[in-house]
Symmetry: C2
Subunit: 309 residues, 2 copies
């Protein structure tokens, strides 16, 4: 799957991932009105609105991008109805041949991580039958519990030819509170990065490992260091756009060949029509605004990468 | 809710939490056979078996214990059908007046943590209506992202009078890989513990904070230190029984009045009938074996605590 991701990035010239993190406040009035009309102001109504919103954005962008990253929390908040749409969104993205990165940030003791791995990447055995519950291609994983909390995910990746992105340095303002603390003179995120590199080297696709890392675009200098520490790992880079990072911040996350990283933008793409820059589209044409935002993001990153190497 | 938990522990003389972490391999053949007979070897069939198993264990133990801790991964692996049973289990435990600790170990950047907090502890707004999706009383939270990943949970706890347990030192063998690394001469878990204490002191119930901590029973010496660092925080202690810790290991996690901690046992209680010690019950009477395991655990902890103070 890491090979598929790398090839799709090469072909599309777009190391871009669209974060499908729908909030009801992003969804245009006409979609909400229709969904509530049909299902009432219920969890089912909210889920229907999220689905229609996602579908329109996927339809408008799938030919430009290699991957999407649905954030499960945005679905989980609506309970069962929301999670049905999470599942449906993944299925629909697969129909469109998009690589799906489930942003679930799971991680627990071994036996529990094994259950998460089965539910999100692998299969669960029921008597003589095996079922894939959510069936993402990649998921994000939290490293706080150490190797035995991560290994069950790696084992399932090996079997299913899928992958994970392990949180190394997150994009949020307080990520440094623990992640930046110095251990033997080096920040915790470097030690986590070294473990990712170690796990990664043992689990290689053709040119990249299927054990990747999450490093926030909001910390470009950190990206530079971590790129060197984890030479075989793909880096998933959140924090572009709404969280404040720009194209110029991104160059360090890539290898000299312009590969090795994929940049996520959520709000900046899915709610583009709310920005002044795209207001000419209007809320009815919100998906066209999202498409334009992808085109602009691609140009911004291409510009930044042209200065590399 | 922390007050309710403390009072229920005092009344039951049982600082015990039953971990509702059902694996299909724990479930007796007669339950599996009936569920598969009705729904086939499907995700629905597996979910039905999990539900019948949970219900029997809850019915056999609820009058002895203050709280349960369902581990969401064990439900999530069966997808939507599994999560329906997670929800149904929480509802049923509430009917039995049990405190429900959702072991979800969520944690993300601020806006995402807010969505998890709404879905698990609070309410999500849909138009003019508000809905509780999963409605646990407490959940577990991962601290790797720092304050702004934790604060949305605290905000919802304040509003809903609920609580969280933050991972400080986990019970698994490799928890030390990152958590034990020394920062300015002290292990990372102490720094996390200090943050828990700081957050906790600002958010107090009557005598305990509603910001608690997870500290594994498998590391009793660590428990001793963290008990002092977080004097106002309840400690949720996993790792008793199947993970290897015994009553004697537990004394340090409690205050001198025998309060301030709650010890979880999952497999040791819910799959008690599989142990040699309880084999006389037989698989048909698995729930009675679970009840006896709770009684024995209570005696074990009482014995350990009688040496304290």
């Amino acid at each position: 799957m890491i090979q598929k991701l790398a090839e799709k990035i090469k072909k599309s010239h777009a190391p871009i991932c669209v974060g499908l993190d729908p909030m009801l406040s992003y969804i245009p009035e006409h979609i909400l009105k229709k969904a509530y009309g049909e299902f009432g102001e219920t969890l089912e109504g909210a889920a229907e609105a999220v689905w229609q919103y996602n579908k329109a954005i996927i339809d408008a962008t799938y030919d430009l991008i290699p991957a999407v990253k649905p954030q499960v929390a945005m679905y989980e908040q609506f309970g069962i109805e929301g999670l049905k749409v999470f599942q449906r969104t993944i299925e629909y993205c697969h129909e469109k041949d998009l690589v799906v990165i489930g942003d679930v940030k799971r991680g627990d003791i071994g036996s529990t991580s094994a259950a998460y791995a089965a539910g999100h990447l692998g299969k669960v055995q029921v008597g003589s039958q095996a079922y894939s519950a959510f069936d993402e291609d990649f998921i994000t994983v939290n490293p706080y519990l150490g190797t035995d909390g991560v290994k069950p995910f790696i084992d399932v990746c090996k079997e299913e030819k899928k992958g994970i992105f392990i949180l190394v340095k997150t994009s949020n303002p307080s990520s440094g509170e623990f992640q930046d603390r110095l251990i033997d003179g080096r920040p915790l995120y470097e030690w986590v990065g070294e473990m990712v590199a170690k796990w990664g080297e043992a689990h290689m696709g053709d040119s990249y490992s299927y054990i990747g890392a999450v490093v926030g675009a909001t910390y470009p200098e950190t990206g530079k260091i971590l790129r060197k520490i984890m030479p075989k790992s793909f880096i998933l880079v959140p924090g572009y756009g709404a969280q404040g990072a720009t194209g110029a911040d991104l160059a360090h996350f890539f290898q000299e060949d312009g590969l090795g990283a994929i940049v996520n933008s959520s709000r900046g793409i899915i709610a583009a029509y709310k920005q002044e820059k795209y207001q000419q589209f209007g809320s009815k044409n919100f998906a066209d605004a999202s498409r334009q935002a992808v085109v602009d993001m691609k140009t911004d990153i291409e510009g930044a990468l042209s200065h590399v190497g």
